[in-house]
């Protein structure tokens, strides 16, 4: 941050200390969080139709925890997200490295192709995966977790370009002198990669992995088209709950998901900040 003048009163650049700025910030946060807060609050509502507040109860949390369909959907979502994140991060990092480091013929079209999954309308991709898997005769009725394979593949396909963008942004600021110095000192390519590149990329990798994880956990449209019996994921399940019986159970399930996301994100960010970053 630039130089902040030590002055009585508010410095000209200390925008954040101005009242109206703070007001805007506050208003924005209220706007962003109010619906979520009310959602969480009403998950404790003792009323089936959940329109007017009738009393406090944990009944719907009990129902949500006992709703095996919901739990199964949730386990499915986490499993898919886990595998999708791991593979996407690796693929995305490889793409970023390739684009950052090398010149090669056809680079521009290649970059364009890599952004395709980001811009494609989700519904188009969902139908494409549906048509694809059925036409190549993808086996159905496999045991868990292999029956989640089709969905996982679809998720990886649209996640790894996002990871590539994030990692590439991180690489853009990399000073190659370190790398050259290491080479001059006799390090092999692999050592350079392992001891210099990877540590530098880590914040980018973490951010990319987080992004891939969220994209997978959150996905509805593409999953909807590629799922079948016993491969229901959490958003798909919530969608059917929201469509029909709008009870506090949906709120409870949503609150649980929000809580878990919060915990995971906080952990990831704490871990990231522990490492010294440039």
């Amino acid at each position: 941050m630039g130089m902040r003048r030590r002055r009585d009163g508010i410095g000209p650049l200390e925008y954040t200390r101005r009242a109206w700025m703070r007001l805007i910030l506050l208003a924005t946060f209220v706007f962003l969080y109010a619906p979520i807060v009310t959602l969480v609050a009403f998950s404790f509502n003792d009323s089936r139709r959940n329109i007017v507040w009738r009393g406090f109860t944990l009944e719907y949390y009990e129902k949500a925890f006992n709703n095996a369909g919901l739990i199964e959907a949730f386990v499915n979502s986490l499993t898919i997200a886990f595998f999708s994140t791991v593979v996407s991060t690796v693929l995305g990092a490889l793409v970023a490295l390739k684009l950052w480091r090398f010149r090669f013929p056809g680079k521009a079209p290649y970059e364009g192709a890599m952004t395709l999954p980001i811009v494609i309308p989700e519904i188009c991709m969902g139908v494409a995966m549906l048509a694809f898997f059925s036409r190549i005769g993808w086996p159905s009725g496999l045991t868990w977790p292999f029956n989640l394979g089709a969905i996982t593949i679809a998720h990886i396909s649209f996640s790894f370009p996002f990871v590539a963008v994030v990692v590439r942004a991180r690489l853009a600021n990399f000073n190659r002198e370190q790398e050259e110095a290491a080479r001059d000192l006799g390090a092999t390519e692999w050592q350079v990669f392992r001891d210099i590149m990877i540590p530098y990329m880590k914040p980018g990798l973490v951010a990319g992995a987080l992004l891939a994880f969220t994209l997978s956990l959150d996905d509805f449209v593409i999953t909807f088209f590629t799922s079948g019996p016993d491969t229901v994921t959490f958003p798909v399940k919530v969608y059917s709950m929201v469509r029909f019986s709008v009870t506090p159970e949906v709120n409870a399930a949503s609150t649980i998901l929000i809580a878990i996301t919060l915990v995971l994100t906080t952990i990831a960010l704490v871990l990231q900040n522990r490492r010294t970053t440039d």
Binding site: K63, N67, E72, L130
Partner: protein, 359 residues
């Protein structure tokens, strides 16, 4: 009032027990075909459309576990199965979609010898125009589409489609269903035309009427019209009779009527799609559902009309004599069933509704 159908949550927390078993079984290896089927059946059904204990009772009786997935409308069912069966054993399409699936060769002929409870069906349901000889389908529930309304908000019973299609009296307090075919069909009934008319001119008339009416319509609700009614967002809604009956339980101020111009009579059927991994178990489940007592339990819980004469005989009076469930004969005379009118018709109505919504 005794065993009213309870909340959807009871049903879910009930399915929980089974789901826990399901989770366990999912971890076990599947057996291939040619051997005895594993004790599982994948049921793809509408939401809130099964009895409270039906699936558990089935499992207790046969040892076969049921995994039930939900779909929101026939189009969703069809889209999922179009490119090949992802593993469902038993599905519940509506009559015109049964016809469509038969034409598209997506269903497996039923083995009537494995379903002795067919005897329980009422005479009128032993055969069907859309499925001669009941080769591919057996009836599950039937019902009507009409108008659900809030009595205190209106000064008279809205017994005409006019209030939804052609009047600004209740502007902003109206909801229609969102299915293109259904909207056009009810509009045709209002205009005094047959529900299954395919003349583009007639469809255009309905379209123009809807465009004029659009400013007064609050929402094209896919399946939650009854929730909008209950929460006070709208005072009149086009809905299935059973949905309205379910919310009528929570709010005495609501009621249901079939308009005098007539409406739709529909029949949901049990079918087995091609490629089902457990066809034998599916037959067993169909047979169980057609059992008199199981049928009664389902009917009294979901409050739709059962084609199962034996079940109806066992049911409580409040159910049997409810005019919203079993309309009087004069009303039935005004109702028409929808038939599958070909793919071109689908495109025609879909485009008409797209135009209405874009106008």
């Amino acid at each position: 009032m005794k065993k009213r159908h309870m909340t959807a949550l009871s049903r879910r927390s009930f399915l929980a027990g089974m789901g826990a078993v399901a989770a366990g079984i999912t971890f076990m290896p599947r057996r291939g075909f040619g051997q005895e089927e594993e004790k599982l059946v994948n049921f793809y059904n509408w939401d809130t459309y099964i009895g409270e204990t039906t699936l558990g009772d089935f499992q207790a009786a046969t040892g076969i576990e049921v995994k039930m997935d939900l779909f929101a409308d026939n189009d969703e069912l069809f889209a999922k199965l179009r490119e090949g069966n992802p593993g469902y054993d038993l599905i519940v399409p509506t009559n015109d979609y049964v016809e469509r699936m038969i034409v598209a060769d997506m269903l497996v002929p039923l083995d009537h010898s494995a379903i002795p409870n067919i005897e329980n069906l009422g005479e009128a349901f032993r055969d069907a125009e859309f499925d001669p000889g009941r080769k591919y389908s057996l009836p599950y529930m039937w019902g009507t589409i009409g108008i659900g309304y809030r009595k205190s908000a209106l000064d008279e019973v809205p017994d005409s489609w006019k209030w939804l299609y052609d009047s600004d009296k209740y502007s902003g307090r109206i909801a229609l269903l969102s299915d293109a075919g259904t909207i056009i069909q009810m509009g045709l009934k209002y205009l005094g035309q047959p529900l299954n008319a395919t003349d583009p001119e007639l469809i255009k008339q309905v379209e123009e009427m809807l465009i004029r009416q659009k400013p007064h319509i609050k929402s094209f609700a896919e399946d939650n019209g009854q929730d909008l009614l209950l929460s006070g967002e709208v005072d009149l809604t086009m809905e299935w009779n059973g949905d309205i009956l379910q919310v009528m339980e929570e709010d005495d101020d609501l009621d249901y009527v079939v308009p005098k111009e007539g409406g739709l009579i529909w029949q949901d059927c049990l079918c087995i799609p091609k490629g089902a991994p457990h066809p034998q178990n599916a037959h067993a489940l169909i047979n169980f559902i057609l059992d008199a007592e199981a049928g009664r339990d389902i009917a009294e819980f979901i409050y739709y009309a059962t084609p199962n004469a034996a079940a109806r005989a066992l049911a409580e009076d409040a159910y049997k004599s409810n005019p919203a469930i079993f309309p009087p004969d004069e009303t039935i005379a005004m109702l028409e069933a929808s038939i599958y009118k070909g793919e071109d018709y689908q495109r025609l109505v879909d485009e008409a509704i797209t135009r209405v919504r874009a106008a």
